[in-house]
């Protein structure tokens, strides 16, 4: 009997990954919800797409505790909240046995504060068995909301979840979903995926979700992020972050930690890229006049 010499399918490793993370969370009393991938209810994903990683939404006040226990059990930090995505919502780990894990401290598109949003999902969560372990998942309507909000970040035409979770839902289920979207204050991102985004033209995050769901230059995306920030302080932080070098991405591209000179080189390349996009934008505007 030698398990280490046999290939294990990714879908199997991911299921054990969910079970392993839940086991660790139980050990230290952390609340988390398994979202996406194999944790999705079969009614929303009849094909049973397993995804390529494990995704969990963690009670925000317990993220640090989960991070510590993950690192003690072989999960290596792959990308940080700060550099993992422009939203700074998720942090990625890699485990030799279980593969990739994304821990989410909030979900993009939800405008109520992260702690309240988690509590709203937690209040009617239930358990599903994954690899023999009871894993906490949001209610099925809440899963539908998360799938639709997630789809808003992909380009139109590649959103099969919206079709099944929203367009083909019964009137009763749609009413539940709409009530949840209202509770979470997530109408703009939801509309970016399902249609009718222009109804929210006056809202601070309208431009951001229009660009994310329909495309736009990096410069216009950063301007939209500044406009979408909930306060002046947050807006300034976004603005200050815009030209920073994404050290995680640079490390993965190089296959090693970047040197100070390489970080500096990348720093000066990015404003040049932004300037090029701005110049092209002006030329296009001129051509259209």
């Amino acid at each position: 009997m030698n398990g280490s010499e046999v290939d294990v399918p990714l879908s199997v490793r991911l299921r054990f990954g969910h079970a392993a993370v839940q086991t660790l969370a139980n050990t230290i009393g952390v609340d988390l919800l398994h979202i996406k991938g194999v944790a999705v209810d079969p009614s929303l994903r009849p094909g049973g797409y397993a995804g390529s990683d494990v995704d969990v939404l963690v009670r925000p006040s317990q993220v640090v505790a989960l991070d510590r226990v993950l690192r003690r059990h072989g999960w290596r930090l792959y990308s940080t909240f700060e550099y993992g995505s422009p939203f700074e919502h998720a942090q990625t780990y890699l485990h030799d046995m279980w593969g990739y894990l994304d821990i989410h401290r909030f979900f993009p598109g939800i405008r109520v504060d992260p702690a309240s949003a988690f509590e709203r999902f937690w209040v009617d969560h239930h358990e599903v068995e994954i690899a023999g372990v009871g894993c906490s998942v949001p209610s099925v309507p809440a899963q539908a909301v998360l799938l639709v909000l997630n789809a808003a970040r992909s380009r139109a035409g590649s959103r099969p979840d919206v079709q099944l979770a929203w367009r083909e839902a019964t009137a009763e289920v749609r009413a539940e979903i709409e009530a949840l979207v209202a509770d979470l204050d997530a109408p703009v991102a939801f509309a970016a995926a399902t249609g009718g985004l222009d109804r929210y033209r006056g809202q601070r995050d309208y431009a951001l979700w229009r660009i994310i769901s329909q495309g736009g230059s990096r410069t216009s995306e950063w301007w939209a992020r500044v406009r979408a920030a909930p306060s002046l302080g947050a807006a300034l932080r976004v603005a200050a972050r815009a030209p920073l070098v994404n050290v995680d991405h640079l490390s993965h591209r190089l296959g090693r930690p970047p040197s100070r000179a390489e970080i500096l080189g990348e720093f000066f390349r990015r404003p040049a890229r932004a300037a090029r996009e701005a110049w092209q934008g002006l030329r296009r505007a001129g051509a259209n006049r």
């Binding site: 054990f16 050990t27 023999g132």
Partner: protein, 86 residues
């Protein structure tokens, strides 16, 4: 009568006729195929002393020829912490 079950903290998964067993949260994954799947199932489904007899019945093998191998395999699963006495 002694009965066995998957040990506490052990995850199990069946896919396409293969059984995967892993101590959680650290692993590793043990892959059981063919006759090992049958033995695992019988080990979790009845008296420990008759596992070899039930495997023999399912495979038409002479019980005395396979008993030592089956018992050793089950003992290995227990020693690895994958099975425990109920």
């Amino acid at each position: 009568m002694t009965r066995l079950r998957p040990a506490a903290g052990v995850g199990t998964l069946e896919s396409d006729g293969t059984v995967y067993v892993a101590p959680l949260p650290d692993g590793p994954i043990v892959v059981l195929e063919g006759i090992a799947v049958l033995i695992w199932g019988e080990a979790c489904g009845g008296d420990r002393d008759t596992i070899a007899d039930r495997v023999a019945e399912a495979t038409d093998a002479p019980p005395d020829e396979i008993r030592a191998h089956v018992d050793a395999f089950v003992a290995d699963l227990v020693a690895r912490g994958l099975l425990e006495v109920q």
